[in-house]
C-alpha cells in the first residue's frame, strides 16, 4: 500500500515542492524518510489498536499535487451549519486554501494574519520558521510523517501579543472531487503572549466518492494566551478522516478543545496537548454520535511537563447499529510536574448489541504530589429512568431521546461560543432523532 505513495513522492518530488513553500519543504524529505520507515499505521500498533485503515487504503485515490484549481466556489455553495456565529470564515477545499473573497474577512484586528499557509510561508517565512513542524516532525507516527511529506498548503492564523479576536474564526474543510480523492493539509496556529482566539473547524464532504483526508494542525499557545479549538465533523459514510491536533501550551495559558463527531465514515482524532509551562489550564472534551458502520477513534494525550497545571478530559459516545468507538486517554505527568490536577472521564452508551466501544485510560505518573483520577463506563440507556418517563406519558422514543440528549449535554455545555452551543443542541437533537444533521452544502446528507 505504501509503495505507490513512495513512488509518487519520488516521481513528483519537484512538483510537490514547487507548489509549496521553502519553510515547508525544509523538513519534507525527512518526513518522507520517516514515512518510508514507519509506513501507514496498522491496528497491530498499540496506538492504532482501534483504527483500521486497511480497507480505506486499498482504494486508489487521486491527489492534486499540481494544484489544479477545483471548480467550486465554497462561498457560494456552502451554507454554514452554524448560522449566526458571525465568524471570520475561511475555506480549505480538499487541501488548498481557498482565496478569501468575503468582504467581512478584511477587517481582522490589527496585526492578525489569517490565510494560506503556503502563501504566508512565502511572504513571511520568518513568522513560520520557528513553528512549522516543531510539534509534528518529532512524532513517530506514519500518518503525521505522511502529512509532512505530502501536505503543500493549509490554514494559517497568527494572533500577535495581547490581541483578542473579536469574533470566532471558522475554518471549513470541504472535500470536493469527482473521483476518489486524498487530501493532505497542514494548519498552523500561533497565539502570542496574552492573545485570545477561538477556532471552529468544520469538516464537510460534498461529493459521493471515497475521501481520505489526513490533516495535521499545530497550535502554539504562548504565555497567558487563551485558545479554544472546536472541531465539528459532519462528513459522509465514505470518508476517512484522520485529524491530528498538536497543541503546545506555555505558562498560564488556557486551552479548551472540543471535538464533536456528528456523522462520519472512519475517523481518527489524534490529540496531544503538551503543558510546557506552569499554571496551565486545559479542558479537552469530545462527543461521538455514531450508527450504521461508522467508526470513531479518539486518541488523546495530555502531557504535564511542568508543575501546577490542571487538565480535565471528558468524552462521551452514543453508539448504535454496528458502529465502533475507541477512546484512549493518555495522561503523562513528568517527575517534577508536582501539584498536577488531572481528571479524565469517558462515558459510553451502546444502543444496540452490535455496537462496540473500546476504552483505555493510560496513566503514567512520575510525580508524587498530584491529584489524578480517571473513570470509564460502558452501558446502555437507563431502563428504570426510561420507564419512569413512559409512566408519565412520554413515548418510549421521546424518553430515549431525552436520555441520550441528557447524556451528551455536559459536553455541549462546555462550548463557549453561544451561537455554536445553541446550534449544537439542535444538531445533536436532530441527529439523535435520526434526521441527519445535514448541512445544506452537502449533497449526500440532503
Amino acid at each position: 500500500m505504501e509503495q505507490q505513495y513512495i513512488d509518487l513522492y519520488k516521481q513528483q518530488n519537484d512538483s510537490i515542492k514547487k507548489h509549496s513553500a521553502a519553510v515547508m519543504n525544509d523538513s519534507r524529505d525527512a518526513s518522507f524518510a520517516l514515512f518510508q520507515k514507519l509506513g501507514f499505521p496498522t491496528s497491530a500498533l498499540e496506538n492504532y489498536k482501534y483504527t483500521d485503515l486497511k480497507e480505506a487504503l486499498s482504494v486508489d485515490y487521486g491527489l492534486n499535487i499540481n494544484r489544479i484549481s477545483v471548480p467550486v466556489n465554497p462561498y457560494e455553495v456552502f451554507s454554514c451549519d452554524v448560522p449566526g456565529i458571525h465568524s471570520y470564515l475561511y475555506f480549505v477545499v480538499n487541501d488548498a486554501f481557498y482565496p478569501v473573497n468575503d468582504a467581512r474577512n478584511n477587517v481582522l484586528p490589527k496585526g492578525v494574519i489569517i490565510g494560506s499557509l503556503k502563501e504566508v510561508a512565502n511572504t513571511h517565512p520568518e513568522l513560520l520558521k520557528d513553528y512549522y513542524g516543531k510539534l509534528s516532525t518529532i512524532k513517530e507516527d506514519g500518518l503525521i510523517a505522511f502529512n509532512g511529506a505530502f501536505a503543500q498548503d493549509g490554514f494559517f492564523m497568527y494572533v500577535p501579543k495581547n490581541v483578542v479576536m473579536d469574533r470566532p474564526v471558522q475554518l471549513v474543510n470541504i472535500l470536493r472531487s469527482d473521483v476518489d480523492f486524498m487530501a493532505n493539509s497542514h494548519n498552523l496556529v500561533i497565539l502570542e503572549e496574552g492573545a485570545k482566539a477561538q477556532l471552529l473547524v468544520c469538516d464537510h464532504t460534498v461529493d459521493d466518492v471515497r475521501f481520505f483526508a489526513n490533516r495535521v494542525t499545530e497550535v502554539f499557545v504562548a504565555q497567558n494566551a487563551s485558545y479554544e479549538h472546536y472541531k465539528l465533523e459532519n462528513t459522509h459514510i465514505k470518508t476517512t478522516n484522520l485529524a491530528t491536533l498538536l497543541i503546545d501550551q506555555q505558562a498560564s495559558s488556557k486551552v479548551l478543545a472540543n471535538v464533536i463527531t456528528l456523522h462520519n465514515g472512519v475517523t481518527r482524532n489524534t490529540i496531544e496537548i503538551d503543558l510546557d509551562g506552569e499554571n496551565c489550564e486545559t479542558l479537552l472534551c469530545g462527543m461521538v454520535i455514531a450508527d450504521k458502520k461508522q467508526q470513531v477513534d479518539n486518541f488523546t494525550s495530555v502531557i504535564h511537563n511542568k508543575p501546577n497545571c490542571q487538565s480535565r478530559e471528558l468524552f462521551k459516545y452514543v453508539l448504535d447499529d454496528m458502529s465502533k468507538g475507541g477512546f484512549t486517554g493518555k495522561l503523562y505527568v513528568a517527575k517534577d510536574a508536582q501539584k498536577t490536577a488531572a481528571f479524565q472521564t469517558n462515558r459510553n452508551i451502546l444502543l444496540s448489541k452490535t455496537a462496540k466501544m473500546r476504552t483505555k485510560p493510560q496513566l503514567e505518573i512520575y510525580a508524587d504530589d498530584v491529584k489524578c483520577s480517571h473513570g470509564a463506563t460502558i452501558g446502555s440507556l437507563d431502563e428504570t429512568a426510561k420507564f419512569y418517563m413512559q409512566s408519565r406519558g412520554i413515548s418510549e422514543e421521546e424518553a430515549r431521546l431525552l436520555l441520550m440528549f441528557a447524556f451528551t449535554n455536559d459536553v455541549i455545555e462546555n462550548i463557549q461560543i453561544p451561537a455554536l452551543q445553541d446550534r449544537m443542541k439542535l444538531l445533536v437533537e436532530k441527529r439523535l432523532r435520526g434526521e441527519l444533521s445535514k448541512c445544506e452544502g452537502c449533497v449526500i446528507c440532503q
Binding site: F387, Y388, S391, R392, G393, L402, F405, A406
Partner: protein
Amino acid sequence: MLQIKNLHASINGKEILKGLDLVVRPGEIHAIMGPNGAGKSTLASVLTGNTAFEVTKGDVTFNGKDLLELSPENRSREGIFLSFQYPVEIPGVSMVNFMRSALNEHRKYKNLEPLSATDFLRTMREKKELVEMDNKLANRSVNEGFSGGEKKRNEIFQMAMLDPKLAILDETDSGLDIDALRIVANGVNKLKRPDNASIVITHYQRLLDYIVPDFVHVLYDGRIVKSGGKELALELEERGYDWIKKEVDEAI
C-alpha cells in the same frame, strides 16, 4: 373504572401476584395495606406496565379498555398515575423539559394543541404552590439529588400536573416529615373529584387520618385476603398482621 380479575404476575419466574381481585369505582379511595414483600408495589408496577413483570393470568380493564394491552405511556395518557415508592433520578433531564414533554404528549393524545410557553409555566407555578414545592427543585434535573421527602413531594406535583383519573400512591407517606405529610395529603385531597379515584398503598394509619379511605384491603402473599372500611386500618395498626395470616392459613 378499574376491574382486576384473578391477576397473576411473576418476576424472573417467581410468582408474586397469585389471583388478585379488586374493583375501584369513580370517586372512591382504596387503601391497600399488607406486610413487606406481599406484592403491593408489584401490583402498582403491573398496573403501570412495567415489563419486568410478566402477567401470567387474569384481566384488568380500565374504563372499559383492556389495560394490559396498553403501553406504559398510553396507560398514563388514559389517566393512570403512579407515585413511585422509589422515584427515579434522571440526571441531565430538567424538570421543566420532562414535564413539558409529558403534558404535551397527554394533550396530543386528546387531540389538543401543545400548551403555549406562558400557559405551561403558569400551570407549573399553580401546581407547585399546591404541594408547596420549592422553586429551586423545579429548576433542577428530575429528582437528582432530591431528598427522600422532596422526591415524594415531586411525585404529587407531577400528579397535579397530569390530573389523572386513577392515582396509585405507593408509600407516598414514607420519608415525609409531619408537615410534609400534611401538605402532600392536602394536595391529594384538593385533587380529589367525584370522577377520579385513588389507591393508597401505605403501612401507616397516620396517612389515612388525612386521606380518608372508603375501603381498606389487606394484601398478603399476592392476594387481597381481607377488605373492610376505614376501621380495618385502625385494627391492623393495633393488632398487626399475624391474626390475618392465621385466618388465611386456617382457611386453606
